[in-house]
Amino acid sequence: MIIYNKTWLNNLAVHHQFETLHHAGCITAEELKAVKEQYPIGFYTPGIIIRVGMFILTCITVLFSFGLLSLFVSAMHVVEHFGWTLFLGIVTAVILELITKEKNYYRAGIDDALMWMAAIFIAGALWWMLEPQGYGHGHADTILVSLVTMAVSLAATLRYADMLMAAISTLAGFAFIFFLWTRFGFMGTATIPFILMMFAGLGYTRLLSLRKKIPIPYYDNCIIMAQIVCLVVLYAAGNYFVTDWANHLLNNIPQKVKLAVKWAPFFWAWTMLAPLVYIGLGIRKKNVISLRVGLVLMAAGIYTFRTYYHIMSIELALIIAGVALLALVYLIVRYLKTPKHGFTYADIDNGDKANNINIEGLITVATFKQPHTHTAPENKFGGGDFGGGGSGGKF
């Protein structure tokens, strides 16, 4: 399925693991070099900067080539037909296949550009084919459009293991469910939030077990992206603002008109509590994805609340939020002065930049339960900053 050399992909994963260990200060640079030499990679992967440059230049090449080709055949009137776009997309895809195999490009900018061009041209041509009369003839076309998008991006994900394609594919899948289900008249529009929640929750748990089951991390990043999309959709489906907005949209009522949302207490509870559940689960299971998505969604929840209820002025809300956040940070830093329950606030994956808190220091602290001299200034800082915030509030 995947186009890349699997041994090299495995070796790449080995490199990443040992690079992390090197940054954390566990292994020396010589050891890292030795490991890398023992597990060689034949991919052509330039740095991010050259990758961006190559991406831009490849886009220029492809677009001007297509422009020139279209100019040559414009007399034959094929350019007005979707088949021409499809043809160009397939040509790009074939070039991509050949060039990736021949030159062993892996995230080189050239392959990225060709992949996106091919996907956009093919998907665009298929949309064009499905809707020759233009957009908006019933719901059938949106169903097909989301299906086509999902198929094309899923194919690209499986073949090239691209993270962004995985995200688009997952989103298109949910769009497909949404458009399909809302076709069932009133019953469909009333139950759609629950259907989406069900599929998103199911998708997330399936992906969690999938990531544990697959020992070979070819698609690791893709699965992480899909998990993030699932978590966000799971939240958004029950978010009060989103349900209110979708309710207007599906019943063709202008957004200005006030409409009673059914099950409002449930949706409000979901809006405010679901992010907390995400954060709680993230901390319990030590899952970074759930924790960070939860933090972002908490902000979304508070924002939703503020759009409906103006219980206090924006500046007061900001001051309270600021003081609360700084107090929270102060408390966490104070609580985790010595690592507890396997948590630390030090940057353990980056031994060089952890400001004197190296892993040995942490271990010493954990073992002997003695105050660590290096951590003292941080703690003092936390206090100072919070004090500043407090005086500000009083002022």
Partner: protein, 323 residues
């Protein structure tokens, strides 16, 4: 972590006993770092609090009075800098680590509040009179001092931006601004001088070995400003045949930056010099092709040149890695 692989590497001797023990220790500890989350929350907290206070001050400006606000801002500035000076590490010509994890946040807060203080003071009491140059020159000096003394690259970037502001204002006086009579040529020359000055700073940073890691910031701004100034110089004088001299300037500077990038293994500056030189070359060729009115030729040029550029980049990348 793949235990099988780790054990294999250990028995083969690739990973030493000491490192193996460290890895094992790390795994048994199983520490989960909240570093990123805490930093984000701290940043958001500072942002929310300062914005909230800012709005409050703005809304109640009539009742609070300017002096009270100024004193309040001054207290923050003084508090931050008292802390920073107390805990700072001694000045060194090489890179200095921050003494504590969140030290740089506090330094940044103090510096930002200092800028607000100066701006407020000038806006309300006109301490610098009509001397807009002075109003930007003094903060600039302070910013450069803080950047060097505390070794803070973020504040160095602010200082560089302030230097540009100061130069821009000094060259186009207030009178010209009022008349909307921008003297483009003067502006281009000013920016070119600014860019070259920054490049000279970058070179001196390296040559005299004072805060070598600051070189990137100087060069980053210097390269962009100089190239853009020369390209705009070309377009301003487009009708004049001598405008091509500006493009020759681009190529000369491009070559200098190219040599420097090769010497210091910088992919970033290599890409910049290639792209800016490509733009200049395309300008020259378009000038020739535009008169012949052949769209096919223009397209052919872009196809061939971009393919050529991709292979050039691959080649240079290889050369840079090999050297």
């Amino acid at each position: 972590m793949d235990q099988h692989l780790l054990n294999k590497l250990h028995t083969e001797g690739t990973i030493s006993d000491e490192s193996f023990a460290k890895i094992k220790q790390r795994e048994t500890e199983g520490l989960f770092s909240l570093h990123w989350e805490i930093k984000t929350l701290l940043y958001l907290g500072i942002l929310a609090l300062t914005t909230g206070l800012g709005i409050t001050i703005y809304k109640n400006i009539d009742t609070i009075g300017h002096q009270a606000i100024l004193i309040f801002i001054a207290i923050i500035v003084i508090a931050c800098f008292v802390y920073c000076f107390k805990h700072k590490l001694p000045f060194s010509k090489s890179q200095v680590q921050m003494p504590a994890t969140f030290f740089d946040y506090l330094l940044l807060l103090g510096t930002l509040c200092f800028l607000i203080f100066v701006g407020y003071l000038h806006f309300e009491y006109k301490v610098f009179g009509d001397q807009y140059g002075m109003a930007t020159f003094i903060p600039m000096l302070v910013l450069f001092y803080i950047a060097y003394d505390f070794d803070h690259i973020g504040i160095l970037n602010m200082a560089i931006a302030n230097l540009g502001l100061w130069l821009g204002i000094s060259v186009t006086p207030k009178k010209l601004l009022k008349l909307f009579d921008f003297d483009s040529q003067t502006l281009v020359f000013t920016y070119l001088a600014f860019g070259l000055l920054l490049l000279a700073f970058g070179w001196a940073t390296k040559h005299f070995d004072i805060k070598k890691h600051f070189k990137f910031s100087y060069q980053h701004y210097g390269v962009h400003v100089s190239f853009i100034a020369m390209l705009s110089g070309y377009f301003i004088h487009y009708d004049n045949g001598l405008a091509c001299l500006w493009l020759i300037g681009v190529f000369v500077l491009g070559y200098v930056i190219y040599r420097d990038a090769m010497e210091h293994h910088s992919f970033y500056f290599l890409l910049l010099t290639v792209l800016y030189s490509y733009i200049a070359l395309s300008c020259l060729i378009m000038r020739g092709l535009m008169s012949s009115d052949a769209i096919e030729l223009v397209m052919m040029y872009f196809i061939i040149s971009s393919v050529g550029l991709v292979s050039l980049l691959i080649h240079l990348n290889k050369k840079l890695k090999a050297s």
